[in-house]
Symmetry: C3
Subunit: 205 residues, 3 copies
């Protein structure tokens, strides 16, 4: 099994199924994963095993999707996003079985679909559950096993079920603090101004 990054193209495990035609350079897709027709995936992404990407999902550049994750229609993963193993996204707040009596005409249109966007650089910890119709802000982090029911502000770490704000978090993924005037990450030195509780980087990431 050759594991070198391809010079001109992407790499697929022989047991991956890729119906999509637009897969970026340097992207790798592992065994037992399936990317449906019409999906666009950027460059230098890693999609682990047992991953499913549905028509209507969007995946940017340098995105990691670990094993066992489904990226449904309506889910957008912007550049540099990390999605941990076993994370579950949703896109339907009141799901019923499509042909069931209770569903009625719910699935005759796309009115049921509530899209979610995971902004640039955010990270979602393993086995987290992401309800639908939400925005996970730039460089936010969702703790492992959390159940996210509300949108998450940029550079914010949320934990628990339902997920609550725990601390601010740097682009490097480590928590940081400050004295109300100056904020800097003790791990990488990036500096932030915090306005209304939301960090704004003082320099380009």
């Amino acid at each position: 099994m050759p594991m070198e990054y391809p010079q001109d193209g992407f790499w697929l495990h022989p047991d991956a199924l890729v119906d999509a035609e637009c897969i970026g350079k340097g992207t790798r897709i592992y065994a037992f994963s399936h990317v449906m027709a019409g999906v666009t995936i950027g460059e230098q992404c890693n999609l682990g095993e047992h991953v499913y990407v549905e028509t209507g999902a969007v995946i940017g550049n340098r995105v990691t999707v670990k094993n066992g994750v489904q990226v449904w229609e309506g889910i957008t993963l912007e550049d540099d996003v990390f999605v941990g193993p076993g994370v579950v996204f949703l896109n339907d707040r009141y799901p019923r079985s499509r042909f069931s009596v209770g569903a009625g005409d719910r699935y005759q249109t796309k009115g049921w679909l509530e899209p979610t966007v995971v902004r640039e650089g955010a990270a979602i910890g393993g086995n987290a559950t992401i309800l639908c119709g939400l925005e996970i802000g730039r460089y936010a982090t969702v703790g492992a096993g959390a159940v996210v029911t509300r949108s998450v502000a940029p550079h914010t770490l949320v934990l628990g079920a339902p997920a609550l704000v725990h601390s601010l978090i740097c682009a490097c993924g480590k928590p940081f603090a400050g004295d109300g005037r100056e904020y800097a990450c003790p791990h990488c030195g990036r500096a932030y101004a915090v306005e209304a509780g939301v960090p704004r980087p003082l320099h380009a990431t």
Copy 2:
């Protein structure tokens, strides 16, 4: 990949494994899923990718099982049930590795098996955990990420870990309320009488 519903039969993705012989008309089973021998699955069901159905499970008509779910021996999904992605069912309260020292003779009989039934029209949200020996009532709904440790009454929404009663819920999947004498769903108009906290539909669903 032909996606039309078959006129006379079911549809299997070429990478699905189906050892079972009784699959209902109009049912579809997607890639990397496995239905074991002896299982009966009803009509117009949808089994997503990476689904596993064990010998001894029962699946009715118009049931949806989303990706990454295992339907173990002892689990019954009645007609019109929806099971969200990544839902985990259990059937053994005190699991030990089968051949381990600690297991002793636990697995010499089926005494360890605690069956669970999901009644008609119920919906289980993504990444929920369903402990064993339980009944999820007719048209009940389990919130995404919930951990269900007790049986759920009909037309009841439960949330959290452990899952607690949140509200009443209609056959259409939306919450509803009333003044103690009359209860009607504001979304679909179905009417209920609530007796001892449990809604009883006033008309056929």
Copy 3:
């Protein structure tokens, strides 16, 4: 599909991928699972479907890994361990997408890797999340759906998110209690001395 245990070797489903060379006698690996190169797996293990075992993981004898579990580099499952369906292990506390801007040089070395060991006979309930850098003690049990953020003492049952100590637990998997001087399991009769809250078996398991 021959299901007899092999007399001299292990059993692989034809749709399992096994790059590893050291698989113990009597071990079975089911469909759509993948064991990477260099992994050693002991005797009489059961690896369910949609399981992934990464290079650098260690699996002892008589271990059960149910469906949909990933055993990452840095995870050790000692003899007699049970891992329930959909359990998610982690090995990186501050994950970022490997090629992302935020990751910087985080993945240039293995400094990010925090190993976890699951000691002999322990059982992890379905859909639990196991943070990294932890030890799950001998014959400990993690409840289904729990989120484990701290190490678990031997013979201890933890429940919830974050997981907290609930009771003591026997090698047979059942809870037990005592009067402060004598402790015995009401189910199997094994006896323990409890010292500083941790049970020590009075006889060999």
